[in-house]
């Protein structure tokens, strides 16, 4: 495994007006590393990973992602986003386009790939997420689990080097969670760099190289999963784990 960090955040602070959402956050992610971020609601998990693809701009500190320095007003933001995919809690598929078009529009319009090439790539990744037969449907005709898998495929079609997931299964009915997690596990096996915000601890145990626990805008704990689940250093983290592992 390459030990070069692909995401390097140093002393990030983020303010929403007066509200201090990220407090002196430093984290580094190696190429191919799988990081799972958890923590109570409002602790800044989304804010942190949204900084990684510049959907939020941090207020101070330095952030380098895939060799590109991220800062407000940077000209390289679009270049950065082509290397960093994002999967949202609410899927955010484009409702006016078919599944296939959802997957093709990024490569065609952003990467300027030919239509044929884009379609081939799209079908490859639809296979990967196990729904090749849904290509011609509109998002609204799919189940939540299928929509989220399309959303994952949409990011993959951009051939990104890093994938960010913001609670990808928390808007899903329980019976659909596993089909999405399975796809993510398979993706992890390909060596993709992944930063996943989730409370699915089974998934975390299976794929995570590193667990991160956040609270009130701070990173409280960073540890490999064995240590994280068996002997968390902070009380707060222990309580949090006890709470969510109860279910």
């Amino acid at each position: 495994m390459d030990s070069q960090p692909i995401i390097e955040a140093r002393n990030l602070d983020k303010f929403f007006g007066k509200f201090h959402a990220l407090k002196d956050v430093s984290i580094s992610v190696r190429q191919g590393e799988r990081v799972v971020v958890c923590g109570p609601s409002g602790s800044g998990k989304s804010t942190l990973i949204r900084c990684f693809n510049a959907l939020e701009s941090h207020s101070s500190g330095t952030l380098v992602v895939d060799g590109i320095e991220v800062f407000e007003g940077s000209k390289d933001v679009r270049k950065l986003r082509q290397e960093v995919g994002m999967v949202f809690q609410q899927f955010n598929l484009f409702p006016h386009l078919t599944v296939l078009e959802n997957l093709m529009i990024g490569p065609m319009k952003v990467r300027k790939v030919s239509r044929d090439q884009a379609e081939r790539t799209a079908r490859t990744y639809l296979d990967r997420v196990h729904i090749p037969e849904q290509a011609e449907k509109y998002p609204a005709q799919l189940s939540g689990g299928q929509q989220q898998r399309v959303a994952i495929a949409r990011s993959l079609c951009m051939e990104t080097r890093i994938m960010l997931f913001d609670e990808p299964t928390s808007a899903l009915d329980p019976e659909m969670i596993n089909e999405v997690l399975d796809v993510m596990v398979e993706l992890a096996e390909t060596g993709m760099t992944m930063v996943v915000v989730t409370h699915e601890m089974g998934f975390a145990r299976k794929v995570a190289d590193t667990m991160v626990f956040m609270e009130e805008g701070r990173i409280v704990e960073v540890a490999p999963p064995d240590q994280f689940f068996t002997a968390p250093a902070s009380d707060r983290c222990r309580m949090f784990l006890a709470q969510i592992l109860e279910h």
Partner: protein, 280 residues
């Protein structure tokens, strides 16, 4: 639901509509009243005209719509005027849509200069009467920039209607969920690409009804250009009347023609709209 039940239990019983209202709202009664009211208006105006000694000559009207002569079928003057009105309206509407989109994008651009320019433009247009705007374009800007009456008319209508159209665009664009912006950006799209491929195509659904209303409005306000004698429906109506003195028949006809066109437009678009929603 539970709330209304408890309200019904605790509070006074929900009142039945009064008897006279029930009777008035029943279909046969409503239709009868409607027919009587319309009949009275029509009868009243015809009787009034009769009292004035007005000489009705409806039989002379059809020739202004179309005629069969030895040369065969020919469109009449009113039909030609209608085509001119439609052309004028379509051109103006296209330009108004373009201007409206630009103004809306300026306002949404987040640039201070952009929204200042847009707001100034909107305030200016909204606070000038249409007729005065037309005079400005024709009598003031016309000579300065060499605009003929047709171009001045198109510009007037386009500028006047671009104000409301820009609001329609703004509302339509804002109606698209923020998640769509985020998804578009996160696959590397520029703001322009996000608008073009993701946001605007989704706004169309929200914009179709108010845009139709605006097109209807524009067709009607296009009549105003008759004051600078641009050849269109209303101007032609006036010309026919000055030749024939049939003011009642011709104005009724012209009004009916406007109504038919705008009704067809509204019905057509609502049909389109239904197709849109079925597709998705």
């Amino acid at each position: 639901m539970a709330l209304s039940e408890t309200a019904g239990l605790r509070g006074p019983p929900i009142p039945k509509p009064p008897v006279h209202q029930q009777v008035l709202n029943s279909v046969p009664v409503a239709v009868a009243i409607y027919a009587i009211v319309v009949g009275l208006i029509v009868y009243g105006s015809f009787a009034g005209a009769q009292n004035m000694g007005y000489n009705w000559q409806w039989y002379r009207v059809p020739q202004y719509l179309y005629s069969f002569t030895d040369d065969g079928f020919q469109w009449g003057e009113i039909s030609v005027g209608l085509v001119a009105t439609i052309r004028l309206s379509v051109l103006s509407f296209a330009l108004a849509t373009f201007l409206g989109l630009v103004v809306a994008l300026l306002r949404l651009s987040g640039l201070v200069v952009g929204s200042a320019v847009a707001v100034a433009y909107l305030e200016l247009i909204r606070n000038i009467p249409l007729l005065v705007l037309l005079y400005l374009f024709y009598y003031v800007l016309g000579p300065i920039f060499g605009l003929d009456r047709y171009v001045a008319s198109i510009l007037t209508l386009a500028v006047f209607h671009s104000a409301l159209i820009s609001e329609i665009f703004r509302a339509g664009i804002n109606a698209v969920a923020v998640g769509q912006w985020e998804a578009a950006k996160s696959i590397g799209m520029s703001t322009g690409q996000a608008y073009r491929y993701i946001i605007l195509p989704q706004s169309v659904r929200f914009m179709l009804p108010p845009m139709t209303g605006e097109m209807v409005h524009l067709i009607k306000s296009s009549a105003i250009v008759s004051v600078i004698a641009v050849a269109e429906l209303t101007t032609i109506g006036r010309n026919i009347i000055s030749d024939t003195y049939m003011s009642f028949e011709i104005w009724f006809t012209i009004a009916a023609v406007y109504m038919v066109v705008t009704l067809i437009l509204s019905v057509g678009v609502s049909f389109l709209e239904r197709k849109f929603t079925v597709d998705q």
